[in-house]
């Protein structure tokens, strides 16, 4: 059992990091094509080794700590962001057996860990002793906190329908019935879309990227960071998006459930597909203003999430949803 735990942990961590690294390449390639460019072409065949080159470059950079920064926090924050983002991956079942941590309170724990990733972002912003970083961190906290509420509410929909907070049971329920976006479609599809929106906002991705809004805040939290520490913040964002898509596909798209073939493949396929759609959104949409962002969360998504939860509850009481 322990050996299996070690192996599956290492396997999942490696899968996540590899997919993230090549997700970087894929994003740049996709972004290039969407803007009629080529994307990376030089390093390796069709630029495939670009993330490795980037990593090597980042690793070699000189670490610079700003004069008035809080040194310990400044050093600690970026690795912690990556750690928390990565930790969520432990809870996602990549197969009926391949889940490093098959925990009964999976859904709330995922949301809690995702929320925990906020603290290092705030740490980084505060410790940098830079106004842009602090503003970025402030906005990041306000935004993630606001979108955390619709995130929880929409995650409740599969929990109600499957009657379990264990992610593996939720997938098993979808395996027995339907994928949640397929049926009941009036619950699954809106909940899925809301979840994706809230997840994007939690990960501070475009179109919800006001915390690092390049055109106003330089680079937000990562302004003062150099080298691998900058890389960690960057990596955390990507891991967060990737793991977020994995969670979304687990909760709404049936997770490892597929008509044929190995289940891990289906999970990875769905995650990557969702990941690509998120990049498509990223390179198409413009950034929302801070006030629009908050209005969207509190005036629309929160009541919509509540309505979905109640609707799901009613549906399970009807003869079709029992």
């Amino acid at each position: 059992m322990t050996l299996f735990a070690w192996l599956s942990s290492i396997l999942v961590a490696v899968i996540v990091l590899t997919v993230t690294a090549f997700g970087l390449w894929w994003e740049r390639k996709l972004a290039g094509r969407m803007q009629s460019r080529l994307g990376p072409t030089i390093v390796g065949p069709i630029g495939l080794f670009q993330p490795i080159a980037d990593l090597l470059k980042l690793v070699q950079k000189e670490p610079i700590i700003p004069q008035r920064a809080d040194r310990a926090l400044f050093w600690l924050a970026p690795p912690l962001t990556t750690l928390f983002a990565l930790l969520v991956a432990a809870l996602v079942p990549f197969g009926p057996k391949l889940a490093p941590a098959n925990i009964d309170v999976g859904v709330p724990l995922i949301i809690a860990l995702g929320g925990l990733a906020l603290i290092p972002v705030w740490m980084a912003g505060w410790a940098s002793h830079n106004k842009y970083a602090l503003l970025g961190a402030m906005r990041a906290v306000a935004q993630s906190v606001s979108y955390g509420v619709p995130l929880v509410l929409t995650a409740l929909v599969p929990v109600i329908l499957a009657g379990s907070m264990n992610l593996n049971s939720i997938v098993a329920w979808q395996h027995r019935h339907h994928w949640l976006v397929v049926w009941p479609v009036f619950l699954g599809l809106p909940a899925f879309i809301l979840f994706i929106l809230a997840m994007l906002a939690e990960a501070n991705r475009i179109p919800f990227d006001i915390p690092e809004a390049e055109s106003e805040l330089v680079a937000g939290v990562s302004t003062e960071y150099t080298g691998m520490h900058f890389g960690f913040i960057y990596l955390a964002e990507y891991v967060h998006t990737l793991v977020g898509s994995a969670v979304a596909s687990t909760l709404f798209l049936g997770g490892w459930d597929g008509p044929f073939g190995p289940s891990v493949l289906w999970m990875v396929l769905k995650t990557c597909l969702l990941f690509s759609v998120l990049y498509w959104l990223r390179w198409s949409l413009v950034r929302l203003r801070a006030d629009q962002l908050m209005a969207l969360a509190w005036k629309w998504l929160v009541p919509a999430g509540l309505a979905l939860v109640l609707l799901a509850a009613v549906w399970t009481q009807t003869p079709w949803g029992r």
Binding site: T2, A5, W6, S9, A13, L17, V59, Q60, K61, P63, I64, I65, P66, Q67, R68, L83, L86, L87, A89, A90, A99, P100, N102, I103, P108, H129, N130, K131, Y132, M138, A142, V145, G148, V149, V152, L156, V159, I160, G163, S164, V218, T223, E224, G227, M228, G231, F232, A290, D291, L293, M294, A295, V302, P303, L306, V309, L310, T316, Q317, R322
Partner: protein, 119 residues
């Protein structure tokens, strides 16, 4: 119990991986031959940093934090109900509707008062 062991194992694996990257970055780092105090200034688009960056903030962030606590606690109450939803039946549904209704009244009040506006 095994799930938590798995999480712990995963934590150890991630810490080792991230620590490895950090160690690699530390070993391979480039050291500048000459250090310049300018390099360690906070970045303010080329200007001299003006005053400390640890400044006061607009109270709207505080309002958002209050709302978050309110709604997240409420969402936490939803979870235990959610997994027993089918068993609790219409009675459980009725009580949660009342619970949500009270919350929605509060929400509507906040909306009326303009507390949800980001001004």
């Amino acid at each position: 119990m095994s799930g938590w062991t798995g999480l712990f194992v995963f934590l150890v694996v991630s810490v080792v991986m991230i620590g490895g990257l950090l160690a690699a970055a530390w070993m391979l780092r480039v050291k500048a031959r000459r250090d310049s105090p300018l390099k360690r200034h906070a970045y303010e688009c080329g200007e001299e940093p003006d005053g400390p960056a640890w400044i006061r903030f607009h109270p709207r962030y505080y309002v958002v934090a209050l709302f978050f606590v309110l709604f997240d606690v409420e969402a936490a109450f939803f979870f235990p109900w959610a997994i027993r939803e089918r068993a609790l039946g219409w009675a459980g549904l009725g009580s949660i509707v009342v619970f949500t209704g009270v919350l929605l009244v509060g929400w509507a009040y906040a909306l009326r008062k303009g507390a949800l506006k980001w001004q």
